[in-house]
């Protein structure tokens, strides 16, 4: 019996010994850990290839590719920063950077980035990663929200097909969706599981700003005429015109695709990168096209939160990390990353690449919208996540479903919202 106990104890010891950590070789080479959030097959391949190319050309500065996940990146980075174990090069989105940047966890890249990269990316994109006086990331990929439309139904209905040069107005869009509705079919399906960012970003086209920064730097919420256009359009389509499906209001973008392919909806407002799923999943012979989102007083302007690459403040080799960023974001490499993720590059040179100007899969429509993309209104508002979760999301959901009216929506966004923001601005 004692022998058995000894054998069991030995087995445990051996198992734990098998668990021992490998450790890292100290051969004098610099190793940078790059946490990438690329997740689609093509974008993972493109990113890995670029890392391999870098490693082949720079034997003294090795980049280690670490796969991260959009689903958990915020919590994972937060813990890593607090514990001083963050990756050296960080892939994220600009709307997730504010607290990390203000918390001192992200390096100021102002003096680290090359002039080529600084001048290639337009100032409006740099605004999305500028917190305080510093630049805390490089915006490199972005996607406008577009209308993915059933081309056959559009043609049959005889409506004017919009172009970036001549988009629909919001009023015209509403009329078109009415014409495309009936017999259990809808003109549009709004996937508004996350209603706040979609509403705010599209509202820029109607001149909506919602967040107003005063001379003292403090931000207040004001729901004005321009802010009403998009929410009111959606509300009327769902509750008055019956031209928008009420059932998709709580859905994500992917959830609307089966109904779209089945002809239940003529149009779905989605992010530009959803085209990849459509190409993969659309039934044989399904004819679809990309249309610009409706325009208002602000033209085709839209808010975006680009994907970003940052360097951790704790990274001991910031210059080498910046050199890697510069390599990764060379125009031809930016094109590869954009094609892999079905998104638009922020760099002007990359954006001019013929591969992104083709009419196939609506690339040309997307690139035509690039000049109209602006930082998302909430980009630099401290307290925005809480305002979004506790105030704006429930208020907009109730408004879109018809539970409350426009005045009640205004009251909640402004009064409750300003109370939340005030706590962050004392």
């Amino acid at each position: 019996m004692r022998t058995r106990i000894l054998v069991a104890a030995l087995a445990v010891a051996l198992l734990l010994a098998g668990c021992s950590s490998g450790g890292t070789r100290d051969d004098g080479r610099i190793t940078l850990r790059f946490q990438s959030l690329a997740w689609q097959q093509e974008s993972v391949e493109a990113t890995r290839e670029l890392v391999e190319e870098w490693n082949a050309a720079h034997p003294d500065v090795r980049v280690e590719y670490v796969q991260g996940s959009w689903d958990s990146v915020h919590d994972q980075l937060l813990t890593s920063f607090e514990g001083g174990e963050a990756p050296d090069v960080i892939h994220d989105a600009s709307d997730d950077l504010a607290d990390f940047a203000y918390g001192g966890h992200l390096a100021d890249l102002t003096d680290l980035l090359s002039e080529r990269l600084k001048s290639d990316i337009p100032p409006r994109s740099w605004q999305t990663v500028t917190f305080g006086d510093g630049i805390h990331g490089v915006p490199f990929l972005q996607e406008p929200r577009v209308l993915i439309a059933d081309a056959t139904r559009l043609k049959e209905s005889g409506v004017r097909v919009p172009t970036p040069e001549r988009p629909w107005s919001w009023a015209e869009f509403r009329e078109v969706t009415k014409r495309l509705s009936g017999d259990g079919r809808y003109g549009v399906a709004w996937p508004l599981k996350e209603p706040v960012s979609a509403t705010l970003n599209l509202s820029l086209s109607a001149g909506g700003r919602l967040f107003h920064r005063g001379a003292d730097g403090k931000v207040t919420v004001r729901f004005e005429e321009g802010d009403e256009v998009v929410p009111r359009t959606v509300h009327e389509q769902v509750n008055t015109d019956r031209s928008a499906s009420p059932t998709t209001l709580g859905s994500g973008g992917s959830d609307t695709l089966p109904g779209f392919f089945a002809g239940r909806y003529a149009m779905v407002p989605l992010g530009f990168s959803y085209r990849q799923q459509i190409v993969q999943q659309a039934p044989e012979g399904f004819d679809w096209q990309v249309l610009p989102a409706p325009a208002g007083a602000g033209g085709l302007t839209q808010g975006v939160s680009p994907q970003t690459l940052s360097i951790a403040e704790d990274c001991p080799h910031k210059e080498e990390a910046a050199a890697f960023l510069d390599f990764l974001l060379q125009p031809e490499n930016m094109v590869r990353l954009a094609l892999g993720d079905w998104m638009l590059p922020t760099g002007r040179t990359a954006l001019a690449d013929p591969a992104l100007r083709t009419a196939e899969h609506g690339w040309a429509t997307g690139t035509a919208l690039a000049a109209h993309l602006r930082p998302a209104p909430a980009q630099t508002v401290r307290g925005y996540p809480e305002w979004k979760d506790k105030v704006a999301t429930p208020a907009l959901q109730e408004y879109y479903s018809g539970a409350i009216g426009l005045d009640a929506l205004r009251e909640r966004l402004e009064e409750d919202g300003n109370l939340v923001l005030a706590r962050y601005q004392r």
Binding site: V12, L15, L37, G271
Partner: protein
Amino acid sequence: MRTSKGARAGQYAALLAYLVFLAFPFLWLVSTAFKPPRELAGLRPTWIPEDPTLANFRQAFDEQPLLQAALNSLLAALCAALVAVVVATPAAYAMARHRTALARAASGWVVVSQAFPFVLLIIPLFLVLKNLRLIDSVPGLVMVYVVWALPFALWMLTGYVRAVPAELEEAAAVDGAGRLRILVSVTAPLLAPGIVATALFAFITAWNEFFFALVLLKTPEKQTLPVVLTHFIGAEGVADLGPLAAAAFLATLPSLAVFAIIQRRITGGMLAGAVKS
């Protein structure tokens, strides 16, 4: 007291409904894993894939290091289960047989400790492990899993120990057996189902755990299966559904296998007739 036919039929119907409720998500996962993308986007859901494919499995293995991740998960879960049982068994015996104020306080603490949210613990835990140089190591992860599983394991095993009649141990003592002999030859065999059930609980808990693995492991080669599964999910919750379902289906197989192998050991009635009343 005989059960009427109607009541028996009701019992079976309830059991069947419960089984359907439990099995539905898993069966749907299996169905999804074999469907091509176009069928996944169909408006009419089908149980049996019309055009079954293994492409999702191929893509899952091509894109992510699933096998390595599964081995990491298996290692961490097995170690956690073994260590948790080895540590919890003597502690549970002491708590069950010696009902002192300290044992009662310990039992209370075990219950209270279950109320702490792990998000609260993660940063201090991270710092402690960092100082011990156990970040990004499977032993560090195993330590966390053991500590996490231990209170519940202790609680479970205490109940099993109490179910073993003390008279059996007293009878063995009268026959001249020493304390260790009694524990090893009399108590341990009767505790076996409880130990197996507890080990299984610790194994499944560690196998499914995501958050600690996400935060504590950095090197891709060391990441566990739940962490790797999230790599199929993109921004705004968009998922590569086919490969994700295929990988998730494969991830459930080891748990099912473990259950299948040892479920016969988790049976009651082993103590029946051990003591004459």
